[in-house]
Symmetry: C2
Subunit: 117 residues, 2 copies
DNA sequence: TTGGAATGCCTTGAACTGCGAGGTAATATA
DNA sequence: TATATTACCTCGCAGTTCAAGGCATTCCAA
């Protein structure tokens, strides 16, 4: 019955994961670290956010996973599929739209006294 | 113990309401309309979002409400308190920070220098 | 050598937000 | 007279994000 849209502000963790993976095959633990560094600590997503996102992306065919052992460390490496790249673009556009909307809303000076009609 | 931080991406509806009210005393129904117009339809918040935000802001002493009848219409007009102005600034800064973080993450093309520890 | 820190994966339960749907009532418009 | 618009409100769900934990391995310092 009640089919509701996702919150207008969602999909950001998903976008960030896709964006990181788009720059080269990586694994979950590293994605967590890179999002933190890439955003200058502005956005810090824990493993409890990232891993479920990764799994759902893989289930949706947007990521391809493969297990590799590097330096004696067993990791699950992810890379984008074509669908993943498309998804990243769609989310990016959605974000840019929201961002632009916020810019418009916030650029109107906050002081009513400035506006003498 | 069970104290969790709000989601990193929240507080945007609240910020938008404060921002609109900062431009002059208004009422809920109008705020809904103006957010839609201000953001170029990029962000459309329904009454089910706006009214609860207004009430919680008032409860927190960040808005002052007064009932007025204009053109035979009874409305609840809101204006910012000093606390409301401070809150708006804090949320604005938080947003700018997230926005900047996203900009960094999404502009990621080549600089590996970004994530050197 | 032993124990803590870091790496690396995972899930669970709860919190929180945002959302649609619905309800009421007055006024305007056709 | 009916229907649309204005204007207020609340309920309860749905989707997301979160902290907190658990597990196993490897690394390093005491």
């Amino acid at each position: 019955m009640g089919q509701s849209n996702p919150p207008f502000m969602s999909g950001v963790p998903e976008l960030l994961c896709l964006q990181v993976i788009a720059q080269g095959e990586t694994y979950g633990y590293d994605i967590v670290r890179r999002i933190r560094l890439l955003t200058g600590e502005a956005i810090v997503l824990g493993e409890g956010v990232v891993y479920p996102v990764l799994h759902s992306l893989e289930r949706a065919g947007r990521l391809k996973a493969r297990r590799r052992t590097v330096d004696g460390r067993s990791r699950v490496y992810y890379r984008l599929t074509a669908g993943g790249r498309k998804r990243a673009e769609a989310l990016n556009e959605r974000w840019q739209r929201v961002r632009a909307g916020m810019d418009m809303a916030l650029s109107g000076g906050g002081d009513a006294a400035l506006y003498v009609e």
